[in-house]
């Protein structure tokens, strides 16, 4: 967007930027490297080197159980790929990501559309709606562990008051419970992004549609949704990335169980590193997760980043 604006002669004339000055402002040769050096150094130290160090560890038998480190080739990768628990964690994580991302997008969109009008108490409602994202996920897990306690918890007590004796921690209900908590915590996030997007839509389009006799649902279907596509994609992308890394709430509430049915990839890697003490295997699992995700990156970047530039 910035480049487009600067390249526009009309903008230049409004801003009184002389062409020569604009040319001189672009660093050339060694100057661009000097100016980029802090960022490059930061990326090298905190991103590139750790990745290469991680790759090296994944090819070794480094473990808390031994003081020496030996190169063992791809043995750790073979160990992870033949571990049923890894595939189970991968399946659960993908399922959890898809389901929770879809749900937070739908609920966030519905709430944003409902809130996109004037009504009394709107400020208070917004404050209330945004509260869950201000709570740390681990704390959220702890709060619900207490609130859902069958003996002393508020929620089972209320349900019993209305004649519903439901076990929310039942092994067959626990994955649903985790999804509900994720939706509860992160719907405000998608709501906020989508609401901001709705505010930016031109009101004239909706007025014209209304004059043409379009119903509210038709306006949403044919105007709001197409125009909100990029916003929805960005919100979904951010939530999906976060859901893929989910650790805290699940670890606090279920520890990855019963058995391993709610073990996410993050919990799998954590257990490998800190309970088994097998840093090499844990690192190989982390690299494999990265490799699985990499093919998705161009598609996502293409949608989220490249789209505005392609309009040049």
């Amino acid at each position: 967007m910035i480049r487009k604006a600067v390249d526009n002669p009309a903008v230049d004339s409004i801003c009184h930027i002389p062409t020569g000055a604009r040319r001189r402002s672009v660093p050339k040769g060694w100057a661009r490297w000097v100016l980029s050096a802090p960022l490059l150094l930061f990326l090298t130290v905190f991103a590139v080197l750790p990745v290469f160090y991680g790759l090296w560890i994944s090819l070794t038998d480094q473990s808390v159980l031994r003081s020496d480190i030996n190169f063992i080739g791809l043995a750790n990768y073979a160990a992870v790929l033949t571990d049923k628990a890894f595939w189970s964690a991968l399946w659960f994580t993908v399922w959890y990501t898809v389901v929770t991302t879809a749900l937070v997008l739908v609920t966030g969109f519905v709430l944003a559309v409902l809130a996109n009008r004037r009504f009394p108490g709107k400020r208070g409602l917004f404050t209330f709606l945004l509260l869950p994202i201000m709570i740390a996920p681990a704390l959220m897990g702890l709060m619900f562990r207490l609130a859902l306690n069958g003996d002393t918890g508020l929620i089972p007590g209320l349900l019993r008051h209305f004649g519903l004796d439901v076990s929310l921690f039942d092994p067959h209900a626990v994955t649903t419970l985790l999804v509900v908590l994720e939706v509860l915590q992160w719907t405000p996030f998608t709501f906020l992004i989508i609401y901001s997007g709705l505010q930016a839509l031109p009101a004239e389009l909706f007025e014209a549609a209304s004059i043409d006799g379009a119903t509210k649902l038709q306006a949403i279907r044919y105007i709001t949704l197409p125009l909100m596509g990029p916003t929805l994609f960005a919100a979904g992308f951010l939530r999906a990335v976060d859901a893929l890394r989910t650790f805290d709430v699940i670890y606090v509430l279920t520890g990855g169980g019963p058995g391993t049915i709610t073990t996410s990839l993050s919990i799998y890697v954590y257990k490998m590193a800190f309970i088994s003490g097998s840093f090499g295997v844990a690192q190989a699992a982390a690299v494999l997760i990265l490799l699985i995700m990499i093919p998705l990156a161009p598609i996502i970047i293409g949608r989220v980043v490249a789209q505005p530039w392609s309009k040049k």
Partner: protein
Amino acid sequence: MLAGASSALGATTVNMVLWPGPEGDAMQKVVDAWNKEQGAEQGVRVKMILLSRDNTFSRETTEIGAKSSNIDIYFVASYNLNFYQAGLEPIGTIGVDESNYFKSAIDSLKIGGKLYALPLDVSNHFLYYRKDLIARLLSDDAWKSKYRDITKTVLGAARDPKDPSEWDADDYLATAAFFSKSANPDSPTQYGTALQLKTLVFNITHWDDLLWGLGGNWLGPDGKANLTSSAAKKAMNIYSTIYKNKWTSPDSAQAEFSETNSALESGNAAFALQWSAAYAELTSPELAPRIADKIAVAPIPGNPHSTHVHALAIALNKYAKNKDAAEMWMKYLATPQGMDAYAKAGGIPSMPKVLSDNVHLNAAFAPIIDDVGKYGYSPPLFSGTFDAMTQMIEALNPGWVGITPIDDALADANQKLQAQLDKMK
């Protein structure tokens, strides 16, 4: 930041990790007193590093894996001492008088005959039960008759109720049914017991008590995994029967220490296997007003009674910068005086004499001395013990809560335990 540093007065600072909670609170008081008096004279200042209870061992794993010298004294436990051995120094030079300690505690901290850690707290299990309910069961003819009917259904033969100190695994199972509304609509409690079934490594220890009490063990006489034994099947069957029949809350699938306390405190459960550390809370009129005066403890049901015992301990970092200073502090903690101060501050030292001298401070000390000494056992200890416990509970838990057939769960646990044992070869 964590690295040992000399203060302006020239004292050496020893960095020691402990975990927060009763142990950390108690040790902080001992540390403060040491820093003010003896430590100041000897030029050794101790700095406590309290990490979160869940992540203490994760952080230590990272430190030890990196051969770091940030920490001088690590916090360890019997079940993970072997896991950390590569980063620890034996503490033979401290001159610990082993006769002061529970034998099971001191033995659990030795590797190859060498002592690697200094015991602090001893941890074991009790059967916590409602003495008012059991007293009525033992005296009321109508209840006795109903109990016999229920035992006939549950066990296949009628039994009379017994005092909890005489229970075996069958009494435990039958009484769980008797005090559950699903089996006995007239029960004064919703559930007979409260199992701790969450996929949490420590929760396997309660099931182990039943296994040991039925004559079982993780390992057979040949040293190989033995979780498909008849004792293991019976222990498994007891857990799954209790869960399936709602003799424990369905929510106990995700229950651990605090949920079990809640079940007893709310009056929803009649008895439960629980850690000795729960005694203070369950008998406190402020924290457990409904049941504080009604709770009693008995040995874990079994024949023989068997309670898991582990010691929480401190160990010297092999790569510590301040070994001499750290040893001076550990030497003090190895004395009865040091542990007496710890007991008075709220700890549960592994020294029977110190516990008996302080029974007036904590009534749990008396049964701890009795049960740990008579019925205590330590699970097989090897470098993969902690990992094996984690993998076993992941395998057994689906069997306990009815997701997997119990034979499949046991076979899976057995295979995982054997794989861990094979790694040690």
